[in-house]
Subunit: 274 residues, 2 copies
């Protein structure tokens, strides 16, 4: 027998599920081909990398050896388009708003559907993204400058090498968020609880110590203002594996288009460790 | 029936207990009147403040309003010399190596025993000390410069006010430990688990932002070297309540002499939150 309270809880859970599933339905139908920022934002979103089986083993090893920039949320079997660990109805061929198709390291197409390209040889990797920990930072009352300024987060190539695996190597890419010292100390504690989405920062303070010469000129994203009483905080960034892929030049690689991620059924807070 | 394993565990526990109790026995007998740094160092040590009952209520409120610099581990009833929460046989009149007796804010004596001074009017406060979190930092492989250099930690008066209570007020005093950025990020996570002994740092980076003009000239303790690739980390410090006491000038106040703390039966790791 369900009590009224239990029924309410079930309804609430269904509604949450529905928000992620509804967003995917809109995307699958072709009604939405844009950014996923702000869509079902209590749900975990993931970076997408799809590779031929011959390249997948090394790429998986590369992610496992570099868990801060490349936190693996799920890996499919070859040819398997479904990701039951991340959502009951996810079909990776249709559920990302926009894809990028790369051949030998060069982008050749930006389709919104992979059905024609799909083959039994393809392996899908879903990598955690900083949207999840940004929700936790905002929930803790910590301001995010790039959100306030309506910009993309600033990202930089560093002189910190990743651990290579087969053809995959390259520098760690970091995202930067400026904060006052007390907020920075709290932000370190908050994000340390989310190792599945990059975890605690990898650096704080002087950018030159990790090979960044000019904060005003990010390699990806937009520059943001830094106040005199603020410190820059640097987190390992999901662009790192994309840079490694561009360098490795596999014959075929499919990724999400920037900002157009896979929306999963996982809730952000489920990624927190105690 | 005890198994061999269970007996071993009991022996181990007795041995641990014995190390703190043995240190207190040596102190109680008068055989040791020096620093407690390094004595039974797996055990929690505490700052000691003893006040007449008329001043105790405001001082307790002051500690409760400023838990970062004044984390209360125990408060006695008036006249009660025992602290069963911190150890089965602790007698605060004899178990601290050296005391300081203050009258109207001026130090008048440094006895090694309080038996003659004791009265039913006195209330004892034991306040957490950074020895406990320093053990956790060292266990995590994080270097401490003042330990490496055989100096006392550097402490500074800040321009950050504490929350006053009755006659007790004044600036927060902080201790400073320099670290490289990656170590600093880890140190924040490690010490955040120890709110009973000051917790996470209150500041990181530019000392001028908290009113410290010259790191080379600490207000208490010794200056330590800071390398070009290091950031100063500032923790709330147990000298804060001592400064508030000196300013309030109670007719009688008894504290531990610097570095000569109360050794309790608590183990440092027992203070960690999950």
């Amino acid at each position: 027998m369900n009590s009224g309270l239990a029924l309410d809880a079930v309804k609430f859970d269904m509604e949450k599920k529905t928000r992620a599933a509804q967003a995917r339905e809109r995307i699958r139908s072709g009604a939405w081909a844009g950014h996923t920022s702000g869509l079902a934002d209590e749900h975990v979103q993931g970076n997408v990398v799809i590779l031929p089986k011959a390249w997948a083993e090394d790429f998986q090893l590369y992610c496992e050896r570099n868990p801060r920039p490349c936190p693996l949320l799920a890996v499919s079997k070859p040819g398997e388009a479904f990701l039951p660990k991340l959502g009951t109805d996810i079909d990776i061929r249709t559920d990302v708003p926009k894809y990028r198709v790369w051949r030998d390291g060069a982008m050749v197409a930006e389709p919104t559907d992979l059905s024609d390209l799909w083959s039994d040889d393809l392996v899908t990797f879903i990598i955690g993204c900083s949207f999840s920990f940004e929700q936790a930072l905002l929930s803790a009352g910590l301001p995010l400058r790039h959100v306030e300024q309506g910009r993309n987060v600033a990202m930089y190539r560093t002189n910190v090498p990743t651990v290579s695996a087969g053809p995959f190597s390259g520098p760690m890419v970091v995202s930067m968020r400026p904060m006052r010292a007390a907020d920075a100390i709290q932000a370190i504690q908050v994000t340390a609880r989310f190792p599945a989405v990059h975890g605690a920062p990898v650096h704080i303070g002087d950018p030159k110590l990790i090979g960044i010469s000019e904060l005003g000129q990010p390699d990806y994203g937009d520059a943001v203002d830094i106040m005199p009483d603020e410190l820059p905080l640097f987190w390992a960034c999901g662009v790192t594996p994309q840079a490694a892929l561009q360098q490795a030049r596999p014959p075929l690689c499919i990724t999400h288009a920037p900002g157009a991620m896979l929306i999963t059924d996982l809730l952000n807070h489920q990624l927190a460790i105690s």
